[in-house]
Assembly symmetry: C2
Homo-oligomer: 264 residues x 2
DNA sequence: CGATGGCTTGAGAGGCTTCAATGCCGGTGG
DNA sequence: CCACCGGCATTGAAGCCTCTCAAGCCATCG
């Protein structure tokens, strides 16, 4: 199994939490053609206005979506972690309305729109799954509006930490844990609509309250209950367990396929 | 032609600016089954967590999407005007993650998911068009993040006015014009992440600068160039003219159908 | 060892909120 | 027809949250 397919497996794993696919449909996703590319930190791999013939899947690293705005005061409107298809929407809307930048050295997989469209056309369930992925992404952005518009700096920061924890760990949360999240305080500031100075102060507060701390790209959650309550965090919007809630045919058939390819 | 279809025509008009559909596909949309419903001001017609079997199209009035948050400090994450299918995403993600509330007395059209899914299944172009509508909605929300997180109160307010002007007039903008936008200053405050007191001051400033004023739900733009430059407004994200830019087969065939039904 | 990038901390300024009071307008009931 | 009432707009004053500016620190790396 090539490394391509194991990355696609990571993507498929997320998709399968939200959509039920047959073994054949899973195979179709796993065998999508793709080209690996490495992007150094601070470089845009999608620029505003670009019309690329492919979507990008994050294999490794961290990427930010920068909304159309002035150069000064850059605002990040989404953060993308490994397994995220950052660009899936470009399949139906090719012209990029926001830039995508690697925040750390990042590996991406470029998947041709033609191939995505082909598998969507051939398997309606895949088309629906892709559509649903876009809808979930939108729900996350929508929650960012609530977060930035409706909460103060401390809660905002805590909420973002909660979201990233939940996404990195695919919902597997206990009271204390650690995870890698290589964003700088400047990145956090751009994502939260704050200054890096103030983000710093909020992080020190969260640490002092015993909730969580960040050191060199490693987040250490010391009190998940306290943190998530303080942030008013409700993970429902991340929709990481819909397939189970929709509960049509059982997930095990497709899960088998997934495991094979993850270990490959 | 029933009033149902003329409302669907308004929706179709927006869709056709972004997607190219055959005459038959337009017909399929126009003949979607639907039920009219009137919602009084301040009432939720979709509550958090609801699993409705239909999507809602705004026929008349104004609706707001309220993100999941505490009751105090309500944050609006989207505003929806006549012709908007506020709920299209619920076709693939039935459980509502945000409440929808009528801000003024509002008329909606409830369109069964079953019918939407059926037409999407039968006409792949319709599935793609629906998917694209969701993606455009997401782009708008994304721009709200940039607006709220990255601009100060004055620019924020101006930017929202620009966006609503552009959406109400479907991009047909001249230097001076008037349009109805029945949001109160409290609604604007909830949408902008400000207090109504401060929104009021910003509106008075915009008026004093000769840009625009709002009186009793009527926006009067006195200097579009000044206003949109002040707000750093770039309408590209609203994607109101993609079909023309994509420019595959000409639009005239479908446009004819549309006009017939709009006048019906 | 200097250069670089990120983190930390302080002091002062200012943008926005909070609290509070008044005015305006349309709707309603006597 | 008029008085009252409720929701919204407007304005002022005080205070806090966050920004700005600035400096110093620490780790990493060539």
């Amino acid at each position: 199994m090539t490394p391509f397919n194991s990355s696609l497996g990571h993507f498929l794993a997320k998709v399968l939490r939200r959509s039920l696919l047959s073994e054949e449909e899973c195979q179709a996703i796993l065998s999508l053609p793709a080209r690996v590319e490495h992007v150094e930190a601070r470089r845009d791999f999608v620029r505003l206005g670009d019309r690329n013939p492919h979507s990008c899947l994050i294999v490794d690293g961290l990427a930010g979506r920068f909304g159309q705005g002035q150069e000064g005061n850059r605002q990040i409107s989404a953060l993308h972690i490994p397994g995220d298809m950052v660009d899936l929407h470009s399949t139906v809307l090719p012209q990029a309305r926001s830039a995508l930048q690697a925040l750390t050295p990042t590996t991406i997989l470029k998947i041709p729109h033609a191939a995505l469209r082909e598998s969507a056309a051939r398997y309606p369930a895949i088309a629906e799954a892709f559509w649903r992925e876009c809808v979930v992404d939108a729900a996350v952005v929508s929650e960012w509006v609530v977060n930035i518009g409706g909460r103060n700096a401390g809660m905002r920061t805590a909420h973002l930490i909660c979201e990233m924890a939940y996404r990195y760990r695919l919902g597997a949360i206990c009271d204390q844990f650690v995870f890698a999240f290589p964003a700088t305080q400047l990145h956090l500031a751009d994502a939260l609509g704050l200054t890096s100075v103030h983000v710093n102060r909020m992080l020190r507060t969260l640490d002092a309250q015993g909730f969580a701390k960040i050191r060199r790209g490693i987040v250490e959650v010391m009190d998940w209950n306290g943190l998530s309550e303080f942030a008013e965090f409700d993970p429902a919007y991340l929709e990481l367990d819909i397939a189970r809630r929709i509960a049509l045919p059982p997930l095990c058939v497709t899960a088998k396929v997934l495991v094979e390819h993850d270990q490959g």
